[in-house]
C-alpha cells in the first residue's frame, strides 16, 4: 500500500471532473498537488476504430447495457479519460431558464449558469454545423418537422474539424469532438495536474480514498496507467466526486461516512429514450455526417424532446421491437432508414433512486410513471408525423401493435400509437442522461449538497457532476454539468484562499 498526499483529489474526469481539474490547475503553480483519479483508461487516438464490437466494451460500463433493477431499461455511461464526453455527440445546449427556476436551489442563479455555460461553449469550440455537412437523415427531420407543424432547431455542437464519420457514440476517430479529453484535461495536465487512469476508488473515508490502480489487460485498449499497478491510500484536504451519477452516489452510499444526508440516492432521473425508425423509398445519407444536427423541444408543453440520431446496426436492431422475418426485412433497408430519438422528460419521484448492492455496486430502481409513458407516446406520435411528412413509406413505432405503420395509416396515428401498447420488457428503452442522487438544495433534510456541491455536514467533500441535479434538466446535460462544476471549483479556490 502506497500513501499519497494531495490538496485536492478529483474522482472522475468527465464533464464535471475535467472541468474542475482545469479550473483548479492554477493551484499547482501555488505548490498544491491536484490529482484526478479516473477508473477507465486513457484511450489513444488509434483506439477509436468505430467498430461496435470493439468499442462498446472498451468505452461503456456493461457494454452500454447496464440494466435497471427490474431489467426494463439500459443505462449508458462511459469510462475513460474524459468520461462520457468521449462518447456524447457534443450537443451543447444551455439549461432552460424555467427548469433552473423550478429547481429553486438557493444560490443557483440562472444568469450565472448561463454565463458559465457560454464560457465553456467558447472554450470547447461550440458552433453550428455548416448546411453542406448536414446529412439527409437530418435534413428530412427538419423538413418533416416544418411540414408537420413542429419547430426544429439546429443543435450547437462542440466540434473542430468534424469529418462526418457519424461515429460520435463510439468515440470520435478524428479527434474532432471537443470533450474534456481534448480540451480541459490536456490543459490541466500541462499546468501540472496529475491524471491517473485505471484508478478505481474502492473506498471513501474522512479525507481519504482507497484506490486500486490496474495494469492494462492483455490486448486491451488504451495506455498503461500513469502509476504503478497496486493499492494506494490517498489523503486529500478536499475531495471532489465527479465519477458520474452511477459513480458518485454509490461511492458515497458505500462509504459509511457518518452524517450523510438522508436524501442520498434519491431523485434519479434520466430522460428515458427510444429510437424510432422509418423507411424511405430511396437511399439517404444516414451513416455519414454528424448524426445529431436538429431537435424539437416540446419539453415544457408535452414533456418530450425529439432529436435526430443515427445508430449502428446492432443498436438499431436492438431498438426495433420483436424479431424474426419482419425485423430482418427492416434491417435490410438500412441505407433507406431515417431515425429519431425520443426522450421523455421524467420527474424526480420517490420510487426512482440509486442504491448499492452488498458489494457496493450501483443498483438503479426505476419505474416508468404514467407521465413518462404518456410523454413517450406523444413523442412517438409526433415523430411518426414528422417521418410521414418527410416522405417515409413506413414507420416503426414500439408503442403500436403491430409496430409497423404504413404511410396510408398516417391519419390514424393517434389510434395506432397508444399507451396500452407500451409494454416494458418488449420495448428497448435506454438512457444516457443520468441525473440526480446528490441533489443540491437548502439543507440536509431536503438535499445532499449545497449550491457549490459541498455535501451537507462534510465541508471537505464536494460533488461536481450530474448527480447534483435536483430534477431532470429536460435537455442534453453536459454544458450544465460544466457550469455547475465551474461553481464547485470556484468554491474550492475560495476555500483554499481562506
Amino acid at each position: 500500500m502506497s500513501a499519497v498526499r494531495c490538496h485536492v483529489a478529483i474522482v472522475g474526469s468527465g464533464a464535471g471532473g475535467g472541468t474542475v481539474a482545469a479550473a483548479l490547475a492554477p493551484l499547482v503553480a501555488a505548490g498544491k498537488r491536484v490529482l484526478v483519479l479516473e477508473r477507465g483508461p486513457r484511450f489513444l487516438d488509434e483506439d477509436f476504430t468505430g467498430r461496435e464490437l470493439d468499442m462498446a466494451p472498451a468505452l461503456y460500463a456493461d457494454e452500454g447495457g447496464f440494466l435497471t433493477a427490474d431489467g426494463t431499461m439500459t443505462l449508458a455511461f462511459a469510462r475513460g479519460y474524459g468520461g462520457s464526453t468521449i462518447v456524447y455527440t457534443g450537443t451543447s445546449l444551455i439549461a432552460p431558464r424555467r427548469v433552473i427556476e423550478q429547481w429553486a436551489v438557493p444560490g443557483i442563479d440562472y444568469a450565472d449558469l448561463e454565463r458559465r455555460s457560454r464560457k465553456y461553449m467558447e472554450e470547447n469550440g461550440v458552433q453550428l454545423l455548416p448546411p453542406a455537412l448536414v446529412n439527409e437523415n437530418n435534413q428530412l427531420f427538419a423538413t418533416g418537422a416544418a411540414a408537420a407543424g413542429f419547430h426544429a432547431e439546429q443543435f450547437p455542437l462542440n466540434l473542430r474539424g468534424c469529418r462526418g464519420s457519424s461515429l460520435c457514440n463510439l468515440g470520435c476517430p478524428n479527434a474532432a469532438k471537443q470533450g474534456t479529453n481534448r480540451v480541459q484535461l490536456p490543459r490541466a495536465e500541462r499546468m501540472g495536474v496529475e491524471v491517473v487512469t485505471r484508478a478505481l476508488v474502492t473506498r471513501l473515508g474522512e479525507r481519504r480514498l482507497h484506490v486500486t490502480v490496474s495494469a492494462r489487460p492483455a490486448g486491451g485498449k488504451g495506455a498503461e496507467p500513469e502509476w504503478a499497478p497496486g493499492d494506494y491510500e490517498i489523503e486529500a484536504e478536499t475531495v471532489v466526486l465527479a465519477g458520474g451519477v452511477l459513480g458518485t452516489t454509490p461511492l458515497l452510499l458505500g462509504s459509511g461516512l457518518p452524517g450523510l444526508p438522508r436524501r442520498l440516492g434519491a431523485g434519479f432521473t434520466c430522460h428515458p429514450a427510444h429510437i424510432l425508425v422509418a423507411e424511405h423509398a430511396r437511399e439517404i445519407t444516414n451513416d455519414v455526417g454528424h448524426p445529431k444536427s436538429f431537435f424539437v423541444d416540446r419539453a415544457e408543453a408535452e414533456g418530450y424532446v425529439l432529436e435526430t440520431c443515427m445508430y449502428f446496426p446492432f443498436i438499431t436492431a436492438k431498438n426495433l421491437t420483436g424479431f424474426g422475418a419482419g425485423h430482418s426485412t427492416f434491417m435490410q433497408a438500412f441505407p433507406r432508414l431515417q431515425m429519431i430519438l425520443v426522450l421523455a422528460c421524467d420527474k424526480a419521484v420517490p420510487d426512482n433512486r440509486i442504491a448499492v448492492d452488498r458489494k457496493g455496486r450501483p443498483v438503479v430502481h426505476y419505474r416508468f410513471t404514467d407521465q413518462v409513458i404518456e410523454s413517450m407516446v406523444r413523442a412517438t406520435r409526433a415523430s411518426a408525423r414528422i417521418f410521414f411528412a418527410a416522405g417515409a413509406l413506413r414507420v416503426h413505432a414500439p408503442s403500436a401493435d403491430p409496430p409497423l405503420l404504413e404511410a396510408a395509416e398516417a391519419p390514424r396515428i393517434d389510434q395506432r400509437i397508444d399507451a396500452r401498447h407500451f409494454r416494458t420488457g418488449t420495448i428497448s428503452i435506454s438512457a444516457a442522461h443520468l441525473m440526480g442522487g446528490c441533489a443540491m438544495g437548502r439543507d440536509a433534510a431536503s438535499s445532499v449538497t449545497d449550491s457549490r456541491g459541498v455535501v451537507h455536514g462534510l465541508p471537505w467533500l464536494r460533488v461536481a457532476d450530474a448527480s447534483l441535479f435536483p430534477d431532470s434538466l429536460e435537455i442534453n446535460p453536459y454544458l450544465t454539468i460544466m457550469a455547475l462544476a465551474d461553481r464547485v471549483a470556484e468554491g474550492v479556490l475560495q476555500d483554499t484562499a481562506r
Partner: protein
C-alpha cells in the same frame, strides 16, 4: 472460459438464433463462431447474477418446448420455435418478456456486429466520413 447461455449443446443456441434472425440459417461456420464468441464474451463481462438468469431462462424455454411439443427447442423447427418465443415475448409475466428481449438482444449483438453482415446491409460508416463518399 466464456460460454454460451445454452452451455455446450450448440444446436439449441443456433436454433434460438435462427428464430430471432432467420438469415443466420445461412451463416457460414466462421460466422457462427464469431457470433457465438461475441455472445459468450458479452455474457462473460456481465454480472454473475445476470448470467444465471439467462441460463435459467434458456432452460425454461427448453422445458416449455418439451412440455408443449415433446421435443427440445432444437428439434422444434423455425415455425414452432418462433411461435413459442413469440408467446413468451407476449406473456403477462415481465420476466418472460425480459428473457426473450435479452436473448434476442444477445443474438443481435453477435450478428449485427459481423463486418460481412453489416456490409451486406449497406452500412458504410468510416472514419473518413464525407471524403469517403465523394
Amino acid at each position: 472460459m466464456a460460454s454460451l447461455p445454452t452451455g455446450s449443446p450448440r444446436p439449441a443456441f443456433r436454433a434460438l438464433a435462427q428464430c430471432f434472425i432467420p438469415e443466420t440459417a445461412r451463416a457460414t461456420d466462421s460466422q457462427w463462431r464469431a457470433l457465438e464468441s461475441a455472445v459468450a464474451t458479452a455474457l462473460a463481462a456481465r454480472p454473475a447474477r445476470l448470467r444465471r438468469q439467462v441460463r435459467l431462462f434458456v432452460r425454461l424455454i427448453g422445458f416449455t418446448a418439451r412440455a408443449r411439443y415433446g421435443t427440445g427447442f432444437a428439434g422444434l423447427g423455425a415455425a414452432r420455435g418462433t411461435a413459442l418465443l413469440e408467446g413468451l415475448a407476449a406473456s403477462r409475466v415481465l420476466l418472460f418478456r425480459r428473457g426473450v428481449w435479452g436473448l434476442r438482444t444477445l443474438v443481435m449483438l453477435g450478428w449485427y456486429t459481423d463486418p460481412a453482415v453489416i456490409a451486406a446491409l449497406g452500412y458504410r460508416a468510416s472514419a473518413a466520413g464525407w471524403e469517403a463518399r465523394r
